[in-house]
């Protein structure tokens, strides 16, 4: 038997391999926690770069998920608000992030306003399912933005969430070089070639997001199954998320934290319940809508937010699936929201400033 396969030598070999693996895993965890945002969370990085490209902070900022990203076209809303308010200088910015749950919105809020530049109005997405303690988007948050400390702090909600979330936490922390390989590869490529890396497609679960929520990136129709089939596929997941519905948890706390920060910084918050297909709205039975309503009222009372409900304002033909609007829905919602909400609010905002 070769020297290396002598039991004592083999034991030494295996134990060395195990120790090296454990040390590398720990270092990998540190690396993942401290790697640039562009590597681990490129969607957020792109949004922040676009934000910093503005000389002064845009007056209105959207914080939300792909629901907001799909529905609210800044290219339609901006001109409309300028026209209604008469303020030619107002800019509208979308910091919506695919699979952007309140934890992600809070993360974005803290980064956007970190340099002291602040918007006047923040439109913050809120829906009954997104503030549920059982957060089905947590498995994205754990891999793309959570540090080790965040995981410890959110351990309760992680365990309360889906099995997939727990599995992703474990794989993210036990095999960081595997789970984060695409991000680390992209970072390495960026360092090597000096070029901007491409967002790892498929990781966001989003259809057409390419780093901007521009009109060109949203097609009129999606290839693949028709909307109703997509909705039927999604319904069991939403139903599972809403079972034993409860709000108190880290997810709703993150939303409250974001709203409180805006309140402290003098940013007016508009809580926007985004448009939804009727099949999905039907799941918001009283056991869901009542605690949700109480939570919304609490935010309004505590932080003076305005709440606008657009969940039932679009017809079912204006959706790709249960929550994402198609081209028609996007155009219709953007115009409607600008005319009914943002335009008047911005006009009042200018008026109060002049006073």
């Amino acid at each position: 038997m070769p020297r290396n396969f002598h039991p004592r030598a083999a034991r030494r070999c295996i134990l060395t391999a195990a120790v090296v693996f454990v040390i590398a895993t720990l270092l990998g965890n540190v690396l993942v926690d401290h790697c640039p945002l562009s590597a681990r969370f490129p969607e957020a990085d792109l949004a922040l770069k676009a934000w910093r490209a503005h000389i002064s902070a845009p007056g209105i900022v959207f914080l939300g998920s792909s629901r907001t990203g799909y529905s609210a076209s800044v290219e339609i809303i901006g001109p409309k608000v300028r026209q209604i308010s008469g303020d030619a200088a107002v800019e509208v910015f979308s910091a919506a992030i695919p699979v952007g749950d309140p934890l992600t919105m809070n993360f974005m809020g803290s980064h956007l306003f970190a340099d002291g530049r602040r918007s006047k109005i923040a439109v913050v997405e809120i829906t009954p399912d997104s503030v549920s303690r059982r957060n089905r988007f947590l498995d994205f948050a754990v891999t793309r933005q959570f540090t080790f400390r965040d995981i410890v702090e959110n351990r309760g909600d992680i365990c309360h969430s889906t099995n997939k979330t727990l599995s992703r936490v474990l794989s993210s922390r036990l095999t960081p070089f595997y789970t984060h390989r695409l991000a680390l590869q992209a970072w390495a490529r960026e360092k090597w070639s000096g070029s901007e890396h491409v967002i790892p497609s498929g990781d966001t679960g989003n259809y057409y997001y390419d780093g901007i929520w521009g009109q060109s990136s949203i097609p009129q129709e999606l290839p693949g199954p028709p909307p109703m089939m997509r909705i039927e596929e999604d319904l069991p997941r939403v139903r599972k998320q809403l079972a034993d519905y409860e709000i108190p948890g880290r997810t709703s706390a993150a939303l409250e934290d974001l709203v409180a920060r805006c309140h402290r910084d003098g940013i007016k918050v508009i809580l926007l319940e985004t448009p939804m297909h009727s099949a999905l709205r039907a799941l918001f039975v009283p056991s869901v809508s009542q605690p949700y309503g109480q939570f919304v009222r609490h935010l309004q009372d505590a932080y003076g937010c305005q709440f606008v409900d657009f969940s039932d304002r679009l017809s079912d033909s204006m959706f790709f699936d249960g929550v994402h609007t198609n081209g028609d829905g996007r155009a219709y919602f953007s115009a409607l929201f600008a005319e009914e909400v943002l335009g008047p609010v911005w006009r009042a905002e200018i008026g109060s400033r002049h006073e």
Partner: protein
């Protein structure tokens, strides 16, 4: 649960820890059987019962064969067992193919029958475990092995998770005696297993999965790619399928070592074969030897006339082709290899071509023949295979793959060629012996981390799962 997934990583750690924590050999075997059922059940829990049914029938038949002396009863029992196994295999794997082929044939005579629209779920690994149960009953019938009296031994032979889904196809005479021996935790064996596993993981997760980016688009639309891309994609497919399957086999062998079991080696530098006949002695060795022992020799082997021998060879290779899948291109693939094997037997190489100096030429020629056969194997339809052959021998214009993919393909080809060269001329054992244990451990961990880092985003399931 794929071998190269995080779920398997956790599953393996739990199974390994539980196995060695148990002291009683029966409990250990039971633990492995339960773990294997869980492993299989992650795909489809209901299909575990199908394996258990097949295994139970053959277990009982084998026990009966041991106590029965009457030749006619023994033959009847053997026929019963093989019929049940083959009926299940044919039903699940070939029913749709047989129905659509029959309808196609009838339609040629003006029947106007619609093509079948129904689908049958293909139980994973059915071709593998069916062959194992057949070899068990046949060997007991031939009195080459004694029937397993302990059901756990037999269950482990069929269900042992490292080989359950895609082989190697193990023989009862090879595995059952291992279930009788006491297992002691052995660091040396664990190291050997880890090295096998890492080698397989590298082949599968790094080489084979990356090569899919070259192979898939060209085989999906061969008419749109240039001749040079076809000449790149076909050898890349040869390397991909080798790395995929031999990688799985290496991982299976490695995982089995961790539990104190040995599985047979399934590949032996197949692309350094001097002839197609030699290739089949080096490629999927456990299937080739199974077909030799349970099909070719019972058919008469080479004991009859030359014509009979060629017929037996062609029939065996057609069965081999069909074993790979229920489609006409697999039948033609088997026929192609059967004809080449017959030609090699009928027309021995002239002395001038058999010289040692021409060895590289013979290897290259064999590789070319294998690549031509793999085009039939991989193409979506026989017409696509024909199109690829035509475009390969003419200078056709068409699109090119990105430069970095071409470079990736060439690197992968070079790596596998270098691996074959090292395996052929180098002495791996002596080379490994010179490395200090700590450095070896460091290297193993480094390779594991590197593999994890280099895995592509979309990792494909093993090619041989579909068989």
């Amino acid at each position: 649960m794929l071998f190269h997934s995080f779920a398997f990583f956790l599953f393996f750690l739990v199974t390994f820890a539980g196995y060695w924590a148990l002291k009683d050999p029966r409990q250990r075997k039971g633990w492995l059987v339960i773990a294997s059922c869980v492993f299989y059940g992650t795909w489809n829990p209901w299909l575990v019962f199908l394996i258990l049914f097949t295994a139970a029938v053959d277990y009982l038949v084998a026990l009966r064969l041991m106590t029965t002396e009457s030749p006619s009863t023994r033959r009847a029992l053997l026929a019963l067992s093989i019929s049940i196994s083959l009926t299940l295999l044919v039903f699940f794997k070939y029913a749709r193919f047989l129905a659509s082929s029959t309808i196609f044939g009838l339609n040629l005579f003006g029947a106007h029958l619609p093509s079948p629209t129904w689908e049958i779920v293909l139980p994973l690994g059915i071709s593998f475990y069916t062959f194992e149960t057949i070899s068990y009953v046949v060997d007991v019938y031939r009195r080459r092995v004694a029937a397993a009296t302990n059901i756990l031994d037999y269950a482990l032979y069929i269900l042992f998770f490292p080989h359950l889904i895609a082989g190697p196809i193990i023989r009862p005479s090879f595995f059952l005696p291992q279930t009788q021996t006491a297992k002691h935790f052995d660091w040396a064996r664990l190291q050997l297993g880890a090295q096998y596993f890492l080698r397989g993981l590298f082949k599968k997760a790094v080489l084979a999965d990356h090569l899919a980016a070259i192979v898939d688009p060209v085989f999906a639309a061969p008419a749109t790619y240039s001749t040079s891309m076809i000449w790149l994609a076909v050898p890349c497919y040869a390397v991909q399928v080798y790395c995929d399957f031999s990688g799985y086999s290496d991982m299976a062998v490695g995982a089995a070592h961790a539990f104190g079991y040995k599985l047979p080696i399934n590949f032996n530098l197949p692309y350094f074969s001097e002839s197609v006949g030699e290739f089949w002695r080096r490629w999927h060795i456990t299937l080739s030897t199974w077909l030799r022992d349970y099909v070719y020799i019972p058919l008469g082997g080479s004991r009859g006339s030359s014509a009979r021998t060629y017929g037996n060879l062609i029939l065996t290779l057609v069965i081999c082709g069909l074993w790979h899948g229920a489609a006409w291109n697999f039948v033609v693939f088997g026929l192609y290899h059967g004809v080449i094997l017959s030609l090699e037997r009928a027309l021995p190489l002239p002395a001038v071509l058999a010289r040692r100096s021409l060895l590289p030429l013979r290897i290259a020629w064999t590789f070319l023949l294998l690549c031509a056969g793999l085009v039939i194997f991989r193409a979506h339809a026989l017409s696509d295979a024909w199109l690829m052959w035509r475009r390969a021998v003419s200078t056709s214009e068409g699109q090119h793959l990105p430069q970095e993919l071409v470079a990736l393909g060439l690197v992968a080809l070079a790596l596998v060629f270098a691996g074959h060269l090292f395996g052929h001329f180098g002495d791996a054992k002596r080379w490994l012996e010179r490395i200090p244990p700590a450095a070896m451990g460091f290297g193993m961990a480094g390779v594991f981390l590197l593999i994890m880092f280099l895995m592509p985003q979309d990792s494909a399931p093993f090619t041989y799962f579909q068989f």
